[in-house]
Symmetry: C2
Subunit: 375 residues, 2 copies
């Protein structure tokens, strides 16, 4: 069948597979080996239906009332999308939905041939725990997610370092465990002996549109001052008293993606006594000035390298909105002779595949500069 | 303002509050003190929009293109819903979505005045862990959720009894922790000294439409034979080797809701050597025959009471589709002098508030008939 006819009918080829992000038993969307997605949406009375993915605005209605489309080839990894039906932007009940872009978005997982570092494998698995706690600074019961590595429940004398890992704007504490697959990435790194067993704490950074109101003050917008305060006053002490951590700066890291990367830079600069490892994935702005940043430490490369065991910065090469700022900061650091790790995710944009890869690159660098081994 | 004008504008009264099931910062839907919900959906080009809740088909479009409706007063508790836009049944990006009715459904939480047993309170909280494991009988990596009670991580010598708790048709392992709020219910019961600390394991019973294909055989549809086999061969041994359980029948319970209640009856009858406590919430069918059921044990009330420490059956009084069958079974048990616990949830239907209350009633009955105390 010629390509034009295929496109017209939007009939998926026989080797197209249901997306792994579909609900149980869901057949559509399907994805073919060229990474085109095939959608089928029942909307008999609609005048216009579209899917917010490249090519998804070319939907057409069949005589059976079903709207279909074949998208352009999609980038590997995870993409948010929504469906628009006669002007209403809504979510697809056939796909898992995820808190992202400030709402319950649909998501589609596009396979990435040759990459399996973020997929569940037959290796020992840590648990990802939903943990509820009372945060005194807010007077509210909050939830975070805590990854405890394989062996945590059996090696009862072992204590572990901790990575605090933050999501981006319009996301929340669920984003790294779900969209980011942080648990599988850590399982695979630890099983391969590439990363030390560690806890990963994923909390809500308060950077959804609904939570970002409030006055700005000198040091930055109030919404992340608030999270920084909560992290130091409530979350870290709670984690250190609830789980078997090694409660010092040499065994504590912080990383974040996008606006969570900006938060990471703000919070770690203000609390260098708390964190020795820093990861900044696709931060759109907020890079410290060289040499004044980090309380002047960026003016003293040797002192900086003693204090900050790893400074990791990254972005994706395919149009990541954070590329310019990150690249400029990288060059400034390089010129000033400041030790850091720079990573570019090939062919991905400001999206989860960039951040999954960033975690996979950052994880092995953590807590290696210590004399103890808690394996 | 007269009621008619209010209904026409669908303007929520000042004391209406955003539903707790809304996404972060989401203002709509709102719920007023009479439990009416107010929806606002932007769909400028649509000809017809409706919400699948009582009264939700009366939506009207304002001059701003926004569709609004005020529902009838809703029953307290959790309800699935979807939005239909010009014939397309879709999900609401403004509400959390939940796997239910075989798809990602929107959900709305309606307050229940005077009931807080399922709400997060300032009491010690257990963790709800996403746990991944390899199931030999299927060759697949599976996920379950495991509630570990407060103290599990500090009382390292303690061992705990286990409740296996199953969802209904078109739902999955996420349903009890999310819609059911099983963690908060157990936290509150344990904090009040009403229930013994226990683990609660919530796995996927394989009863979504997509998973229920396959041949029937003598003992019942193949889809729950398969889950029963997996529970006995894979899940229970995995839980007993991963967590600090008391691995015997006197410290093991099984319960389920709706079709998960039917599964519970099938599986516990076939494996009475594994379970001493049984909970059947709103099972639509599958009740054992008296006196032949439970391998004839229902013909010997004294022997049954020795074997089955608690048989708990329940339904909601407001039109629960399970009411007739459950009531008949209750009467048969009563006439035969079989010890059991019968619970009717007042004013609720075949829905989550019935099952939350059922867990709250069932939990305190568990593992009391033992001579040890693992508190």
């Amino acid at each position: 069948m010629p390509v034009a006819a295929l496109a017209q009918t939007n009939q998926p080829p026989r080797d197209a597979q249901p997306a792994s992000s579909n609900v149980q038993g869901g057949q559509y969307p399907k994805i073919d080996p060229e990474r085109r997605a095939y959608f089928r949406i029942v909307a008999p009375d609609a005048k216009h239906v579209s899917v917010s993915l490249p090519g998804g605005d070319r939907m057409s209605q069949g005589t059976d009332g079903v709207w279909t489309v074949t998208t352009e080839p999609l980038a590997p990894g995870f993409h948010y999308y929504s469906i628009t039906v006669d002007g209403a932007a809504v979510s697809d009940p056939a796909s898992q939905s995820y808190f992202g872009t400030g709402k319950m978005s649909s998501g589609i997982e596009v396979p990435s041939p040759g990459e399996d570092f973020y997929l569940p494998q037959d290796v020992p698995h840590g648990d990802v725990r939903a943990h509820y706690y009372f945060a005194g600074s807010t007077g509210l019961i909050r939830r975070c997610f805590v990854y405890t590595p394989p062996g945590y429940d059996t090696n009862l004398a072992a204590r572990y370092p901790v990575l605090y890992l933050q999501h981006g704007m319009g996301e929340d504490a669920t984003s790294w465990p779900r969209q980011g697959r942080a648990g599988f990435i850590m399982d695979n790194l630890i099983a391969a002996g590439k990363a030390k067993p560690m806890l990963v704490v994923m909390d809500d950074g308060g950077i959804t549109p609904g939570a970002m109101s409030g006055p700005r003050r000198g040091g930055g917008p109030a919404f992340w001052d608030k999270f920084g305060q909560m992290l130091i006053q409530d979350i870290i002490p709670m984690i250190d008293s609830t789980y078997r951590t090694i409660p010092d700066r040499d065994h504590r890291a912080m990383a974040g993606l996008s606006l969570g990367g900006t938060q990471t830079m703000e919070i770690t600069q203000a609390h260098l006594d708390e964190f020795a490892y820093i990861g900044v994935f696709s931060a759109p702005f907020g890079f410290p000035q060289v040499p004044r940043g980090f309380n002047g430490l960026l003016g003293d490369p040797a002192a900086f390298a003693r204090q900050v065991k790893v400074l990791f910065i990254s972005y994706g090469t395919a149009g990541d909105l954070a590329s310019r700022g990150t690249l400029r900061f990288h060059k400034e650091l390089e010129q000033a002779g400041i030790k850091h790790v720079f990573y570019q995710s090939p062919g991905t944009s400001h999206e989860w595949q960039t951040w999954r890869r960033s975690l996979y690159e950052f994880g092995p660098l953590l807590f290696q500069d210590t004399h103890d081994d808690h394996r």
